[in-house]
Amino acid sequence: MNPTKPTPVHATPHRVSYPAFLWRLASLATDGKLPFYAWMTLLTALTLVGANAWAHQVAGGMHVTGMSDHVSWGLYIANFTFMVGVAAGGVLMVIPAYLYRDKKMHDVVIFGELVAVAAIVMALAFVVVDLGRPDRFWHMLPGIGRFNWPVSMLTWDVIVLNGYLFLNLHILGYLLYTRFLGKPPDPRWYKPFVILSIVWAISIHTVTAFLYSGLGGRPFWNTALLAPRFLASAFVSGPAFLILMLYAIRRFTPFKVEDGPIHTLVKIVRVTAILNVFLLLSEVFTAFYTGGTHSASATYLFFGLHGHDALVPWIWTAIALNVTAAILFLGRRALTHPLVLGAACVMTFVGVWIEKGMGLITPAFVPSTMHELVEYAPSLAEWKITVGIWALGLMVLTVAIKVAIPVLTGQVTYTGAPAPARADAPEPAAAAARAEEAGMSR
């Protein structure tokens, strides 16, 4: 590649090599073959549709949504909740890789962190589009605005979501940069952050659950089971997405994804999928056996109330998908037949999206706190904006994977010479694993 003799990397100051790193990433992010450009063009077009719909919503008012004073949160907050779960689910690759020192998982753990970043970007975008006055966003900045911390759970959520985003960006950036330089990463610079990110991942979904479960006026949310349920469902939808993504990486990129990490994720999801259904059953039992006013929302959700039943097909679809997926995960073929596993992942991903989204947010508002029955259905504008944010998230993820793989595999380095591969650990984060072992044995 480079005919001149490579200079020792450690001789270059970071102020030279770091911009070079970013420049290389930028050019990697925009280089590709026709399918890549077609995919990115499609995502850009969808994002544009969403951006335009959002601009109209801000300018003309949120009456373009299907929301009302009775159902004041809808599709945006539903997707926000779901995306926080996907972001938290990434931790199920980090835990095996770092706490259980699963070498094979270590090789692909970085993709879990990439998903977390894309999911958090989406979660934050869903909050922003739900604001009536996004121009006043600065009112929430600590120091400049008035940040109602620690009383408002929303301020906690702002802290944990942004914190999780920066933690993951730091870990990813540091590992990729050192790999780019061809140096072993210094455990001191990422190990503590990885451990912190594990705790932090749990916290983002816990805090998000507390947003809802702390509201005494909404019995449907006001249950201590909400945070555990959120985590259980996150640990289903997260790994499901990660498995699908690892399949896609194996199929569309030169990166070698082994079966080991996929099987580990299947083993995790075998437990969490059942746990998720179990926790749902516990909620259902309490609501219906007790009965009375407190079961009104659950009745509306599962069976319809006084002739209003917009959510009934949704929730039963979700239950059917989640139960079928749980059974498929348990079967032997989940480990041997990629199609079966893929189908189970898609099913449970959609199932949790419904259950954690429309199935969790809307029923808390129907009936309203004064027991008025006003139903909600997302408007076209809401669907456009939602699709736009999904496209944006997929764009972030695509670009992130696109730039990460050549760096991880050592094809793109500062010197231009391919980085040496390790014999014991097949590829990318091998250097990280080595450094980590050194750190652990101290």
Partner: protein, 320 residues
């Protein structure tokens, strides 16, 4: 890694070339072109935002929180609000910012035995508080309830027939001005708070429109401005309070303030004045000779959803 930081980049030029002096290829030109196209497309897509931004003033954008405004700031803000009301609605209005008085704690009571469900209070609220005409908004909802039950699940706020019906009673609900208001706790930016006289208010120029308070309120007392309110100039109530009935901007929360622009100046709430049966009792809870104190002492009063611990200042009672 820090030990390399300061060292000169010996022979750095040699390999820098591999990174930096990449030829400006056709592909690079295409990339830059596509990038510019993309930026232009986003500019077009977001064009409605720029038009909308033109209708907002920089003063409003930079305005501080209500509690941080000096009297001079407040005078400027009020002048701006009055001018914008003239510009946008064609109405000459006077905006006041009457502060809470010491020794005053407002309370409200409602006699369910005499309320006939005529919704005169609803209409009075609509007119007094400059509500959106298109949605016929009001801070009060009247529930038609089955006699023999206080279960709101069997209540109906959308009845449309002559009142009172013989087997029903009527229960108006508006902001309960809780002493422990969940809506205030959840607000991420302190845009809503409880005033010294017990009224929960919203700074319409600080609210970001997240509607968390609307989710938190157990009484469905809060309203969101889903679009810019529409009111003909002739119908605008010109007597406006900064924290109460001035015309609200689009995209922010609003709520009942016990008509503080009236009550802090010694008048009664519009809903009370409109009531034909005298069902409503309003006054200072700290004044032992007030009618509200007499009601609390002599009637068996109750509050809505007492089990939630919100401690409402709005009391209900039956006479017979």
């Amino acid at each position: 890694m820090t030990d390399e930081q300061g060292r000169p980049a010996a022979g750095g030029d040699g390999h820098d070339g591999s990174i930096w002096d990449r030829r400006v290829s056709r592909r690079t030109v295409a990339k830059v072109g596509a990038g510019m196209l993309g930026v232009a497309a986003f500019g077009r897509a977001l064009a409605p935002l720029t038009e909308w931004a033109e209708s907002l003033s920089m003063d409003e954008f930079l305005q501080r929180h209500y509690k941080e405004l000096t009297p001079e700031d407040m005078a400027a803000v009020i002048a701006r609000v009055e001018a914008e009301t003239k510009r946008d609605y064609g109405a000459d209005v006077t905006v006041t910012d009457t502060k809470a008085q010491d020794g005053v704690q407002f309370g409200y009571a409602l006699n369910l035995s005499v309320c006939i469900g005529c919704r005169k209070c609803v209409e009075a609220c609509h007119l007094e508080n400059n509500h959106d005409r298109a949605t016929n908004n009001s801070y009060i909802r009247v529930f038609e309830m089955d006699k023999g039950s206080l279960d709101f699940e069997r209540g109906d706020a959308t009845y449309d027939h002559p009142v009172p019906q013989p087997d029903k009673f009527y229960l108006p609900v508006q902001c309960q001005q809780c002493d422990n208001p969940p809506c205030v706790s959840v607000c991420p930016v302190e845009a809503t708070w409880k005033e010294q006289d017990g009224v929960v208010v919203v700074d319409y120029d600080w609210c970001i429109g997240c509607r968390y308070c609307e989710a938190a309120c157990p009484y469905h007392a809060r309203r969101f401005n889903w679009k810019r309110p529409e009111i003909p100039a002739a119908e605008v109530n010109p007597n406006q309070g900064y924290l109460s009935n001035r015309i609200r901007p689009q995209g922010v929360m609003e709520k009942c303030t016990f008509c503080l622009h009236r009550t802090r100046q010694g008048r009664l709430p519009a809903c009370l004045e409109a009531c034909p049966t005298g069902a409503r009792v309003f006054g200072n809870l700290l004044d032992p000779s007030s009618e509200i104190r007499w009601v609390l002492a002599n009637k068996r009063v109750f509050v809505l959803k007492e089990e939630l611990g919100t401690r409402p200042r709005f009391f209900y009672f039956f006479d017979k």
